[in-house]
């Protein structure tokens, strides 16, 4: 029953933006004065706002239905953080949670609801459906996405208001004769795309099977494409849109491979079991792999293949009686394939280069799509699909995240475009989340996903407010001293900066980033203790925590304090209207306090409520990869230590930024000259674009040029000679046709024609003759009958 109620509310929240999209895109265009009307915007805000209320209501219902038991149980265990104790508390908790289930794996069956929405097609015993899978992660994501989207929609009403015209002059786009592009405003279209995006994103979160995830994965991709290329007349924008879409295709290729393997070996895409009257009628993927008490997958003893089991861990058999199993390497392929999709969507190394370019889209898009939600979808999927990942895959995820977070952070140090700084920061933070998931800090990674969504969308909106206030100036070297020109923007942004840096404040008022980043660093440290060989997985994030604080404060000092560097910009700068500042304040509150209480706070406990079953205990026995994964206790044990180090790193980063940019003690330009090599290397984004250009683009061009030459020189020649031959043959054919074939046909025609003409003679039109013909006919028939019929 609860499942149905939750489904009802979430379906409303999911489908309203789609309805909004339809209304906006069609009626927006056909309304009386489409270019000047804000109706589309309020429609979009209304849809997503109601969506937020529905999601929040669903969250409340879920909590009430489960008596918030997950939270209380978890709080209980957190109260006894010391390792010796926690082992037995955990067991006790499990027993508590499992009171009606014998099997530990199905503990989360209490809180996760899944089922079918619509059947797309049935292929023999296999079926492709639209499903829903609702657990605490789904609900938290829903609430987060709808809340942030509501704020951003509201903000965009102000930010996009200059599109409310019949004659929009795009100063960044040039016509062939050097003038600016003039075009009608596209206010309603922007909101239509945003609504479509919200629909797709919520669909992705609600999805109950991996194929459905893929459908909405592509839908958010196309929305991203449309929104990045919103200023389609600008070449940079359309190029960026193409780049984003194509690089995502690379990742999606892996995703597809993963899907094929899954389909082949498991025969289903569904995550959860379909339960009717307490009977499992349709098994989902997650219950098809079973983990033994060391946290490893159940495997065939000799071949090492992973066994496919039923919900109780009994091995399923094929029709011929043999065990159903999947080769271990294919489990790795599945994991890596799905993760490849995540790499593309979340802009992880080596597919990270599209995200900075995606900043060509309007700033609200950057805030919603390219920081808070869509790019986080990769992390969300990695988290959602976690039960299917084996250790090798997790290690790959961890290293990918680690490389990404360092790489992006270093580039962010030297970027001067305010949105680019935030873009690289986003990549870096996504790297943190991936790292968190990779080192078995499942909840830590997703925790950071939520907190990051709030503070990063806040900072993007702040940057949007700055850009709007400075009349579309994005270069930080032209700003400075804006603190008292736009105080609300400046202080809300400071909240965001402190939050991402992870500052500690007494009395439990810590910034949200403090909790979430600490959780990741702690997981990394615990992993480091368990596997000393992978020490970089701890050191680099720690170092990067400092870098993060540095570049974030650099940005803030650059923009808001110091002397105005460009008088023109400074004089015209102004604070934004209320539709833009109100969302800033709302988001600032959430960015500061959403993680209130840290790991005993509600948000974290909500997330851990539906943690995959094997995470809490960790993976104790090393397998082929030699990786041991830390459980909760191991992580708790090092939490304080890791937190202290991370805070020290962040504080020192912030201090350096203050010294360099907040005071005039050090001449930054001089430093830049001194370190020209490093600076150039970083400013050119580690030369990744050049590298890809040399590795892929140039060879592709070479191959294309060769193909063109081959086509022209070989194929065309063959074709031309074939054509010539055809012409010659057809000339002969014509002669043959005209004389022989036509002659024959004409012969028939003229013969039949002459018969026809001669028949005309019979039809004289004389009645007397006709009547005589009756008589003749009867007599003739009679004669024929008597001569031929049997006697």
């Amino acid at each position: 029953m609860v499942g149905e109620t939750l489904k009802f509310w979430l379906m409303i929240a999911w489908l309203l933006p789609l309805a909004g999209f339809v209304v906006e895109i069609f009626f927006g265009f056909y309304s009386k004065n489409p270019r000047h009307s804000k109706a589309a915007a309020w429609c979009a805000v209304g849809c997503i706002g109601i969506g937020f209320l529905c999601s929040a209501n669903a969250l409340r219902i879920w909590g009430n239905a489960n008596d918030w038991c997950v939270l209380e149980v978890a709080e209980h265990s957190n109260a006894h953080a010391d390792p010796a104790h926690s082992e037995e508390t955990h067991d006790a908790d499990k027993a508590l949670a499992d009171h009606d289930h014998s099997d530990a794996d199905s503990a989360k069956g209490q809180t996760a609801y899944s089922g079918v929405i619509y059947t797309l097609g049935v292929f023999g015993s296999l079926e492709v459906t639209l499903d829903y899978y609702i657990d605490s992660l789904t609900l938290v994501m829903f609430t987060m996405v709808t809340l942030i989207a509501t704020c951003i929609h509201l903000f965009a009403i102000g930010y996009m208001s200059d599109e409310l015209t019949d004659e929009y002059v795009d100063h960044s786009a040039h016509t062939a004769d050097g003038g600016h592009v003039h075009r009608p405003g596209r206010f309603y279209r922007f909101f239509a795309f945003m609504s479509l995006f919200c629909f797709a994103m919520l669909g992705l979160v609600l999805a109950g099977n991996i194929f459905q995830v893929f459908i909405f994965w592509e839908l958010v991709g196309i929305c991203s494409f449309l929104l990045i290329g919103f200023y389609t007349e600008r070449k940079t924008a359309s190029d960026a849109a193409n780049k984003a879409f194509i690089m995502n295709r690379v990742g999606d290729f892996g995703f597809l491979i993963g899907l094929m393997v899954l389909w082949t070996f498991f025969g289903t895409f569904r995550f959860g079991d379909t339960v009717v009257d307490d009977q499992v009628v349709d098994q989902g993927l997650f219950s098809m792999v079973h983990r033994d008490n060391t946290g490893n997958l159940t495997r065939e003893e000799f071949t090492g293949d992973v066994l496919i089991t039923d919900t109780h861990g009994h091995v399923l058999t094929n029709e011929d009686g043999s065990n159903r199993q999947i080769p271990y390497y294919l489990m790795v392929v599945v994991g890596l394939g799905i993760f490849a999709g995540c790499v593309g969507k979340s802009a992880q190394f080596p597919l990270q280069t599209w995200l900075p370019d995606a900043m060509e889209g309007p700033t609200p898009v950057s805030a919603l799509v390219h920081s808070a939600t869509m790019v986080a979808a990769g992390v969300y999927l990695a988290g959602r699909f976690f039960p299917m990942f084996v250790q090798e895959v997790l290690l790959t995820i961890a290293y990918t995240g680690c490389i990404t977070l360092f790489l992006a952070a270093t580039i962010a140090m030297v970027a001067t475009d305010i949105k680019k700084v935030l873009a690289y920061s986003t990549i870096s933070q996504l790297g943190y989340m991936m790292l968190g998931i990779g080192v078995f800090g499942w909840a830590a990674g997703l925790f950071h996903l939520i907190t990051h969504a709030f503070f990063k969308s806040l900072m993007f909106l702040c940057s949007g407010s700055v850009i709007y206030g400075c009349h579309h100036e994005q270069e930080m070297p032209k700003m400075g001293g804006l603190l008292w020109k736009m105080p609300i923007t400046a202080f809300t942004m400071l909240v965001g900066v402190c939050a991402i840096s992870g500052f500690w404040v007494p009395f439990g008022l810590e910034f949200s980033g403090y909790h979430s980043k600490d959780a990741i660093v702690a997981s990394a440290l615990a992993f480091n203790y368990a596997n000393p060989a992978h020490f970089l997985l701890f050191l680099i994030p720690l170092l990067t925590a400092g870098i993060t604080a540095f570049y974030m404060f650099r940005m803030w000092f650059y923009t808001f304090v110091g002397k105005p560097r460009d008088q023109h910009v400074h004089e015209h700068a102004h604070e934004s209207p209320w539709v833009m500042t109100v969302p800033l304040v709302i988001l600032a509150v959430f960015a500061w306090f959403c993680a209130y209480g840290g790991e005993s706070g509600r948000l974290y406990l909500m997330l851990t409520g539906d943690e995959p079953a094997h995470v809490a205990a960790g993976v104790t026995a090393a397998t082929a990869g030699g990786i041991v994964l830390p459980g909760h206790d191991a992580i708790h044990a090092v939490h304080g230590q890791a937190g202290t180090w991370a805070l020290i790193a962040a504080l020192s980063g912030a201090l350096i930024a203050y010294v360099l940019y907040g005071t005039s003690v050090v001449n930054v330009e001089e430093m830049k000259r001194q370190l020209a090599g490093v600076h150039g290397f970083l400013a050119n984004k580690w030369h990744f674009d050049e590298l890809y250009d040399a590795l892929f683009m140039k060879p592709a061009h070479k191959v294309a040029a060769f193909c063109a030459w081959f086509d022209g020189a070989v194929f065309d020649r063959i074709l031309h000679s074939a054509a010539k031959a055809t012409v010659i043959v057809s000339k002969w054919d014509r002669v043959f046709d005209e004389n022989v074939v036509d002659g024959f046909v004409n012969l028939i025609a003229s013969a039949t024609q002459s018969v026809g003409t001669s028949l005309k003679v019979v039809q004289t039109g004389r009645l007397r003759q006709y009547v005589m013909f009756i008589v003749l006919g009867v007599v003739a028939l009679f004669a024929v009958m008597f001569t031929t019929f049997p006697g």
């Binding site: 025609a749 028949l759 009645l767 009958m785 008597f786 019929f789």
Partner: protein, 539 residues
């Protein structure tokens, strides 16, 4: 005893007969209403065609109710009523629905083309309805007497309709020719009926075969027996009467002249409806003669004979159409040719029905009659479509020659596309309805050819004739699509309502080919109807 008989008759009539006869009764009632309307000048207030449409629709609705009842029944039903004069089965119901629908379409066409005018409308529709009732009687006739009555009841109004364009000399002449020719044919047929009924002592068609067996006195019936010889002569004379209705060679002479003289609407009606009735009658007559081993030889020869007539008719019709310039005359020959194609189905049925493997061929025999019915259904739409286009163009150009169609595509694409679809279907080009109809008939001829080699000849002649027909049909298309519109020809504006009407016909022709559900549904119903008509010989 006499009163008992009378009571039985009345009870039977009131119980079932009137119900079975309701479609005809509706039409008769409509005639009375239309005539009364004119008497009291109500026709000035309510257009007559509205009453006509309501009457036709009611007849169709009654027939559809009977159809639903028959389909719902578990076993196929075939009962005689009105003292054995008429027969009620799926076959007759099929034709009642067919004729009602066609009546509605014809009335709609006459309304659109404006022939007849308000003054003459009650007369015209009375004739039209009278002819339709006659055709319905033909389709359900169970007695030789009804055979004759049906044919005459269908013919006499037709004579008048052909001459309906009173002012035109050609029309009157055509009508006169039709009457005299028809009278001659009717006389021959009546003579044949008297011979058959006199020798066999019954008019009930279902009993004919049995009686011939009695006459042949146990041996195989052959022409050596003088009584059988007389019966054969009678059957042949009856055939002549039917051949007149079907315009089979050599009894087709009236057809081109009558069609040329009549208006296109009447020609369209005659070419489809009167053919349908005559084929129904022919099938019933042939089935009545078959079914006993003693007549098998004779009837197989009869079937082959029909096949030969079919060959001659088709070939003659197609070849004679070549040199025609008047489109109605051209279509008259095309009608003759199509009658030949449909006769092939009857020939195939006779050959299969009278072979010694008839029991095993039940499905194939159903299929041959089903093919005939399917052909008729498609023919209704495609032929009416062609005649409708001619009538509509005539209303603007006052001309029915092929020259008046030149370059029509530039002025009235809807008419041209309709004509294209109809002509392609008449030729039998896939995927239009005409193709499947022809395919079904040829398939059953092929089945029959497994029994008697002569049917291979029929099949070959049918195939060759399809090619022959291509030439003159395509001439129409060539004139419409490829040639320039001559300057002196009056222009044909794109008609609105008329356009919808012909497009509906064209769409039906196309759907009867494109839409598998429709093709399968109609052909399975047609096969069911084919099965029903065979019930009388316990098949």
């Amino acid at each position: 005893m006499f009163s008992e008989l009378l009571n039985n008759l009345i009870n039977n009539t009131l119980d079932k007969g009137l119900d079975y006869f309701s479609a005809e009764l509706w039409l008769s009632g409509t005639i009375v209403v239309m005539l009364l309307m004119r008497l009291f000048s109500i026709d000035r207030l309510v257009p007559t065609f509205i009453v006509g449409l309501i009457g036709a629709a009611a007849a169709g609705w009654c027939s559809f109710g009977q159809f639903a009842d028959l389909i719902a029944a578990n076993d196929p039903v075939s009962v005689s009523f009105f003292g054995g004069m008429l027969r009620q089965d799926l076959f007759s119901v099929f034709f009642r629905i067919f004729l009602s629908l066609f009546l509605i379409l014809t009335i709609a066409l006459t309304v659109l083309t404006g022939i007849p005018d308000n003054e003459d409308a009650p007369d015209f529709y009375t004739l039209l309805f009278g002819a339709t009732i006659g055709m319905m009687l033909m389709a359900s006739a169970n007695n030789l007497l009804m055979l004759f009555l049906g044919v005459e009841m269908a013919s006499v109004p037709s004579y008048v309709m052909v001459g309906f364009l009173k002012g035109r000399k050609a029309s009157s002449e055509a009508s006169l020719k039709y009457v005299v020719y028809g009278a001659g044919a009717a006389g021959v047929m009546l003579y044949g009926i008297s011979l058959v009924a006199g020798i066999l002592g019954t008019g009930d068609m279902t009993l004919l075969a049995d009686r011939i067996r009695v006459v042949a006195e146990g041996g195989t019936a052959g022409l050596g027996d003088p009584e059988v010889r007389t019966v054969a002569l009678g059957v042949m004379l009856v055939m002549v009467g039917l051949a007149f209705k079907l315009s089979l060679v050599p009894f087709h002479f009236w057809c081109p002249d009558a069609f040329e003289g009549a208006s296109a609407e009447v020609a369209g009606f005659l070419s489809v409806a009167s053919k349908a009735g005559a084929f129904a009658l022919l099938v019933r007559f042939c089935v009545g003669l078959s079914g006993v081993p003693e007549t098998a030889n004779l009837m197989t020869a009869f079937g082959v004979g029909l096949g030969v007539i079919a060959i001659i008719t088709t070939t003659y019709g197609n070849l004679a159409a070549y040199t025609q310039n008047n489109l109605k005359r051209l279509l008259a020959y095309s009608t003759i040719a199509h009658a030949g194609y449909m006769l092939m189905a009857v020939a195939a049925m006779l050959v299969m029905l009278n072979s010694d493997q008839a029991a095993g061929l039940g499905k194939a025999i159903n299929y041959s009659i089903g093919g005939l019915l399917y052909y008729l259904a498609v023919y209704m739409f495609m032929n009416l479509g062609a005649f409708a286009v001619i009538a509509l163009v005539r209303n603007y150009t006052f001309n029915e020659d092929i020259d008046s169609f030149k370059g029509l595509i530039s002025q009235s694409p809807a008419l041209c596309i309709t004509m294209l679809v109809c002509v392609f279907s008449l030729i039998g080009i896939p995927p239009f309805g005409g193709f499947f109809a022809k395919l079904m008939i040829f398939a059953s001829v092929y089945q029959a050819a497994q029994i008697h080699w002569a049917m291979y000849v029929v099949l070959a002649a049918g195939a060759v004739n399809t090619i022959f027909s291509l030439f003159y049909y395509v001439r129409i298309l060539k004139a419409m699509f490829l040639e320039e519109r001559p300057a002196n020809v009056k222009s044909v504006p794109l008609p609105a309502m008329e356009g919808y009407y012909v497009v509906v016909l064209a769409v039906m022709v196309a759907l009867l080919g494109f839409l598998p559900q429709l093709v399968n549904g109609l052909s399975s119903i047609a096969n069911e109807a084919g099965n029903a008509v065979l019930l009388v010989i316990g098949g």
